[in-house]
Symmetry: C2
Amino acid sequence: MAVTMNDVARVAGVSLKTVSNVINNYEFIRPTTKQRVLDAIDELGYETNLTARSLRSGKTSMLGLVLADLSIPYYAELASDIMKVAWARGYRVLVEQSGNEPDHEKAALQGQFRTLTDGLLFIPLALDAEQIIAAAGKKPLVLLGEYVQDPRLDMVLIQNHRAAAAVTTHLLAGGRRRIAVVGAHDGDTTGSGGLRLEGYKAALADAGVEYDPALVVPCDWRRDGGADAIARLLDSGVEFDAVFGLNDALALGALHELLVRGKKVPQQVAVAGFDDIDEARFASPSLTTVAPGRAEIAERAVELLINRIESKTPAAKVQQPEAAFELRVRQSAP
Amino acid sequence: MAVTMNDVARVAGVSLKTVSNVINNYEFIRPTTKQRVLDAIDELGYETNLTARSLRSGKTSMLGLVLADLSIPYYAELASDIMKVAWARGYRVLVEQSGNEPDHEKAALQGQFRTLTDGLLFIPLALDAEQIIAAAGKKPLVLLGEYVQDPRLDMVLIQNHRAAAAVTTHLLAGGRRRIAVVGAHDGDTTGSGGLRLEGYKAALADAGVEYDPALVVPCDWRRDGGADAIARLLDSGVEFDAVFGLNDALALGALHELLVRGKKVPQQVAVAGFDDIDEARFASPSLTTVAPGRAEIAERAVELLINRIESKTPAAKVQQPEAAFELRVRQSAP
DNA sequence: CGCCCCATCTGCAACGATGTATGCCAACAG
DNA sequence: CTGTTGGCATACATCGTTGCAGATGGGGCG
């Protein structure tokens, strides 16, 4: 049987409520009384029952975080940052893996899961804005990334368009003219893939280079997806002198496949990615990529969510802060 | 205000307890009554309050998972697996990052955090068995890995010794005789590092190759640690024709540094790691390593913990299942 | 000297669910 | 016609905590 406030109260010779007051740092307690209570707590090894506290107070001090899968480095690193920021603000994080499936995402938005958290950080991949709004309950919700964009939802934005343009411009500056894009469908304009593709196109246009749909190869945003895509591209005979992987994982998969096929990187083909995961720095050759401001995203998202949770007037205007990005030039595309 | 069972009961025209019975699939309920309740639930959008349920039932259906940091791929991948297994068994996972600090680890073992979980999965890095036993409360606890070994504690074992020996034997079979070990101190015999080092020594002895302490380089178990270590080793002038990184991250860091320094891998120096993280397969050259049976570890650990939690007689004998390992030969050490 | 104030402490009710004990009624046996 | 059985539903107490509304009692002030 666990030790309760009642036990502490009995040992300290005060009322249960006084114990509660000590624990919650109520102002008007005689120092001697306070000490007696603290001693009793120590003696009995009392631990506040957070479940009971939550029930009574209506707050769980937990944030939900829904993402596709922790085995994907970008999400893992982001989750790590988010947990640290949340921890510093007195919140824990309950992670839910959606596996990129609409049903899971919907379940995470609605389900009982929500009753365990005060608010939700959500990286949507499968649902669109309408579905999210329809499924979301009344608790605070902050979206991450830019897969979904909608003026009605709080979210932290990544500068997909501008950052992708910056990468492309860098590749063009290196003299590349046939830049393959791996990870999008020709014609995509929404979602992270579409927005990054648009940035790529804009940079090409700026430089007066013609856009060739044959250079756009769709694939899963994973290492093996990138490898497959490059294999297909090479087999198809389309010429290219650079690869822009729409995230680092697939850029690294592409890089791997290029090397396997005997291409020299960056001499014959330059490679660039997006995300700046830790691994990018240690790839061989190291990967040129763009850092979307992960730490800042984590910081802003948690802060925004906690402000919503703790605000007395949650009806404030929708907020959509934007994280700063930074190009990281490395060996794969100097 | 949230919808409660009371509201549902009022709308359905039954007692609160009947609603509870419907939700918990109590056997003897007239189908018509049940339907009325379910309709009311639907109409009101009722969600069971898990906090209240936990308080009353004393179970939270959450498992704690304490690890160093999610940004380390091995932990992230393991966490992902654990969450999937736990989810399938009806449990959620609350992750806590210890940052490899003793105080954090201790706090995670004791703190209020424990009141939120039914049991704990713990990957100890900083605490030893005594400290763990002293700090652990009464709730079920299962350790992962082999940093700590003790007959009094439930844990899932990794075959550090045998797996490390297998890697070493493989390198020896490839004709290497000067195999540097990165990530341990000469003389370590405990913890993952020590056990793997012992396996390395045993394999050398089996092959009749002399052990040279100068080849053992300590470093942090991260990419940059491995890179630093190799830099130091090269600068020191010690000759070596292979590197055994005691985990993949540092093996990849080492690989990176070798390539930067112009060494040909595997022609001049072979490289092998330990963990088989996803990244190993896509490194260039791809990394030879040993898979410690991550999926099996996750499976066994969760199962063991849940059995302890749900068992009526938790005093059963200490269990220490061992996961099977597998050597994965790739380009870096063919 | 009496009254009010305020620091300090207390008791009760409630958060939303579940376990236990029990009530009620129909059907059936004796 | 009474007693028993068993399906079905209910009331009440309870989990451990916090919010609210007092209760207490010593000191300052008129």
